[in-house]
């Protein structure tokens, strides 16, 4: 596993420590110079972001295993270790975290008490990065839980009217899920001791253990529940619209952009890796829930009256695609799912930022109270249009690539689910264009006549996101080249453990005839 790029310098450890130290520093700074506080906080997050970009450069392409590994014993009696590593599946989530945090801090100011807000944000970043690079179940759980605390305070302290209700709901809902996961983690470690001979929480060692079929299925459910709440999978999604809508803009950006991916990432990294047979067993259930999430989330989004709530429901639909892709068990679909995690983070993060800008100007997010903005703020409207088209999944922009890979890969193993899931693409156009029409088109009324055009600083904050939207849409190859080898490793692991054989599309080479029968592969494993 050690690799050339896993240099002696423990970069992943430092990556977690920088924002954590930053949080402490910001908390201790004097509040007499608020602009200095913000500078310091943004500085820490920019340094963190820079480190993630450096790792992106140093990452060995084509390598499916873990890189930048740092492994130390922590609580040896219980087999708990400080084990961090990065592979193609987590790489871009880490980079996304590194990019989105400075943007969220710069793009939206809290309405009061900047200092604690920024400190919580930095702590949140540390927890998020930790969760994405942990290869030890106990460590992962610690970070997974750690992120709840700052997010709870961010929503409860800096949110909108119903912030307390939303924060509590978010906290309790997630806690219920993760409590079961804690039981699952401990049980897994202790049961694995029977086949391994020693107690360990290390993922790489636990994944070699074997469990009784039924036990593994129960354990899978314990993990899956925690992740399903986080994603969220229908019908466990109702904390999300409240939390997203009530959170301050920066919190929403992080919540949608990065935090939800803890769920989809957790499925791939932990639930699938540890219990592949169980994951295959529950496949129909999760495919069905994913498809319901896609269509139902989109339909619910259509009827929302609050713009931010609409974006929140669109996340339910978009995350449904990722779940669909994960449970399709084909390399294309899983790769597409990982890509979709990043793309959704970029597009939805950008959407939340812009909705936040609308709120700052108009002090309302009610669609009915906004109209004709394109006439007074054409540049703002143009930027919103680009982000919207990316979210709709128009080819040439980032949203399409992941969605397309998910669907084309899922079609191979879950044809009829895919057929229905693809209708979500139609409804996505409906809810976003309808909202756009009501908010931006038409004649501006008195209240909207003085809607301020996009400022330079706002434009600069949006610029990296817009660049990513176009770049990833036109040329996703660099990302796919890094994601796919790790997905292949995961798929091979699942194949070895379960005897499942990933279906291949018929190959047609230069006119040579092969049996070209599409139905043969369809509906495998039902």
């Amino acid at each position: 596993m050690p690799h050339t790029s896993s240099l002696q310098f423990p970069i992943l450890t430092v990556l977690i420590l920088v924002p954590a130290v930053g949080a402490a520093v910001v908390a201790l700074l004097s509040n007499r110079r608020p602009e200095f506080v913000k500078l310091a906080a943004v500085g820490f997050s920019v340094v963190t972001g820079g480190m993630t970009l450096w790792m992106l450069r140093a990452f060995e392409t084509g390598e499916g295993g873990y890189q930048f590994v740092s492994k130390h014993q922590w609580v040896p009696e219980w087999g708990i270790g400080w084990h961090l590593g990065l592979d193609g599946i987590s790489l871009f989530l880490v980079v996304l975290t590194g990019i989105l945090f400075p943007i969220a801090m710069l793009g939206a100011d809290p309405h009061h008490d900047k200092k604690p807000y920024l400190a919580w944000m930095l702590l949140l970043e540390a927890g998020m990065l930790g969760a994405f690079v942990s290869l030890d179940l106990f460590l992962f759980f610690a970070f997974f839980e750690l992120v709840l605390v700052p997010m709870y305070f961010l929503i409860g302290g800096w949110g909108y009217d119903q912030r307390v209700y939303a924060a509590l709901k978010f906290f309790i809902y997630t806690m219920v899920g993760s409590a079961l996961m804690l039981v699952g983690i401990i049980t897994t470690a202790f049961l694995a001791r029977q086949s391994l001979g020693y107690l360990t929480f290390d993922l790489l060692e636990l994944q070699q253990a074997s469990f009784a079929t039924n036990t593994a299925r129960w354990l899978f459910l314990a993990f899956a529940l925690a992740f399903a709440v986080k994603v969220p999978v229908f019908p466990l999604h109702t904390w999300l619209p409240d939390a997203h809508t009530q959170a301050p803009t920066g919190g929403s950006v992080i919540l949608a952009g990065v935090m939800l991916k803890l769920g989809t990432y957790g499925f791939l990294r932990f639930a699938f890796t540890l219990f592949p047979e169980a994951a295959r067993y529950f496949r129909p259930l999760f495919l069905t829930l994913a498809v319901i999430g896609i269509t139902y989330g989109a339909i619910a989004a259509t009827m929302q009256k609050d713009l931010k709530r609409l974006v929140a429901y669109s996340s339910v639909a978009h995350l449904g695609f990722i779940v669909l892709g994960s449970f399709a068990f084909t390399t294309q679909a899983v790769t597409g799912g990982v890509l979709q995690m990043i793309n959704h983070g970029v597009s939805t993060g950008a959407l939340f930022l812009m909705v936040g800008m609308i709120y700052d100007r108009r002090h309302t997010r009610q669609i009915a109270e906004l109209t004709g903005i394109q006439a007074v703020a054409p540049i703002f409207a143009a930027v919103f249009t680009l982000v919207m088209l990316s979210s709709i999944g128009v080819p040439g922009l980032n949203g399409f690539v992941g969605e397309f890979l998910v669907l084309i890969g899922s079609f191979l193993t879950a044809r009829w689910w895919t057929v229905i899931a693809a209708t979500g693409v139609i409804i996505a156009a409906l809810y976003l264009l309808w909202a756009y029409q009501r908010v931006f088109h038409g004649e501006p009324d008195e209240a909207n006549k003085s809607f301020r055009e996009l400022s330079w600083s706002e434009g600069l904050v949006m610029l990296p996101l817009l660049g990513l939207i176009v770049f990833c849409g036109v040329y996703p190859k660099p990302m796919l080249d890094r994601i796919q080898p790790s997905v292949t490793v995961l798929m091979t692991h699942i194949e070895e453990k379960t005897g499942y054989v990933e279906p291949q599309p018929a190959l047609f080479e230069g006119g040579e005839e092969h049996a070209v029968e599409a139905d043969a592969h369809a509906e495998e494993g039902e």
Binding site: L389, G396, Q437, H514, V516, A518
Partner: protein
Amino acid sequence: MVVDAGRLLQVDLGLMADPLSITMALFVTGIGALIHLYAVGYMHGDPKFSKFFLYPNLFVLSMLMLVLGSNMLVTFLGWEGVGACSYFLISFWHTSPANATAGKKAFVTNRVGDWGFMMAMFLTFQAVGTLNYGPLNEAAHSGSLARSTATGIAMMLFVGACGKSAQLPLYIWLPDAMAGPTPVSALIHAATMVTAGVYLMTRTGAVLQIASYDWAPWAVAGIGAATALFAATIAVAQHDIKKVLAYSTVSQLGYMFLAVGSGAYVAAIFHMITHAFFKALLFLGSGSVINGMHHEQDMRKMGMLRKFMPITAATFIVGWLAIAGVPPFAGFWSKDEILLFAFDKSPILWVVGFVTAILTAYYMTRQVILVFFSEARWETHAEEHGAHGDFKPHESPFTMVAPLVVLAGLAIVGGGLQLPFSHKTKFLEQWLEPLVEGAERQLGTTAEDIKWVLAGIAILGAIAGILGAVAVYQQKRVKPVEPAILANGWYYDRAISDFMGGPGRQAFEQVAWVDSNVVDGAVNGSASGVRSLGGLLRKAQTGFVRNYALGISGGVVALMAWFLIRGVL
């Protein structure tokens, strides 16, 4: 777009030049250039003049991607690109709610078609392992593509084509799309974008004609013929000068799909080209009229305009003769070839096509008379035009009439691309032969023998349609037949929007209601359940020792009883 998921899916940003894509690229760029020139005049004075030109250029880029792509995904990239441009341009004057709604409607309806296109891509990938057209067509030719799969691919592509090319039942967006600036209507919603579906079906012709079940080409031809007739009946009763042309476009696209279904791919492309010439001409002519009439589009308020707009009138008349099917204008040749192939497939298809041809001649003659002949009705409406008393229609500037003249020339000679006299004069067929070989229908001897008879009947039909309209609208010997049901497009569009705005919307509302009350209600319900349970339990904590002692002794008794029953003690 370069998608490369390793060994498992490779899609290159591949472009290819072959006779078909070159043909498409030539007329797209040619007509695009003329319309850009025209738009310089038409959009003159618009506050968003410079912004306007962003979109037609983006459109031409996307359209070229569409026709030059060597695989379905690049075509799809262009396909969606032209759709997005169409959306931007229909809602270009976005402060009017009608325009904004029309733009949204176009995009969403097209997305229904895109769903079909995507399904076709997925099936192709599963069956052939690539999205390139070459291997797909090869598999269809060699018979290695399973019949059911091929039918699935062909039909799903046709769903996509129905959306983009405005066929039944998805045509509803195109008439509304006329809300956009007229050059856009000519470029996107008549000459180029809407023919993308025909192009796609031609590109994958072998899948439909060779590898699919026999009913699949029938379905395409049937929908095409039905759309042609259906839209022509609606065009008869429209009053908006652009709406007539819009329904006429739907109808002519129906002809092209009739051709595709009948295996007449060369004829489909031929008609696509001639249609691009004369329909762009007619739309630009109507734009010139609208411009000269100070943005009046109602034909009931026009009349006698040939006196004031001679060049527009002369070129429009050329377009009219071309679409009506009068030889030797371009439309005659291409329509005649389609009808010939349709006859060979089934005389019923020919009859539908023939009746449509009569109606086409009729409604186009009606339009020409109402706009350029009969009597000047605009004087009584002068006030509405904002010109007090001295309102006078005027001819358009040079930049607008020059493209009209060029297109009129093309509409006259365009038929020369493919003359049915001998194999040597069928230039387009020779040019496209390598591509459509195998898929192209071989005419039976009967059809070949009576082709001149059929052509003669078609000419008579066109003349009958023209004379009928003259009798009604010029000589006024017969009262016009314009029933409300036709003026309202058989109420199809209204039925759809009533459904969407009524039951459809209610169903969506229901889902949102269920979400906030049932799904979320369960969450909040369990929270308040826990709280009230806690409230109940709290009452047990009285603080009196005697109560606790009672509880403890009760518990001891219960435990003893339990052990006794189990026989432990």
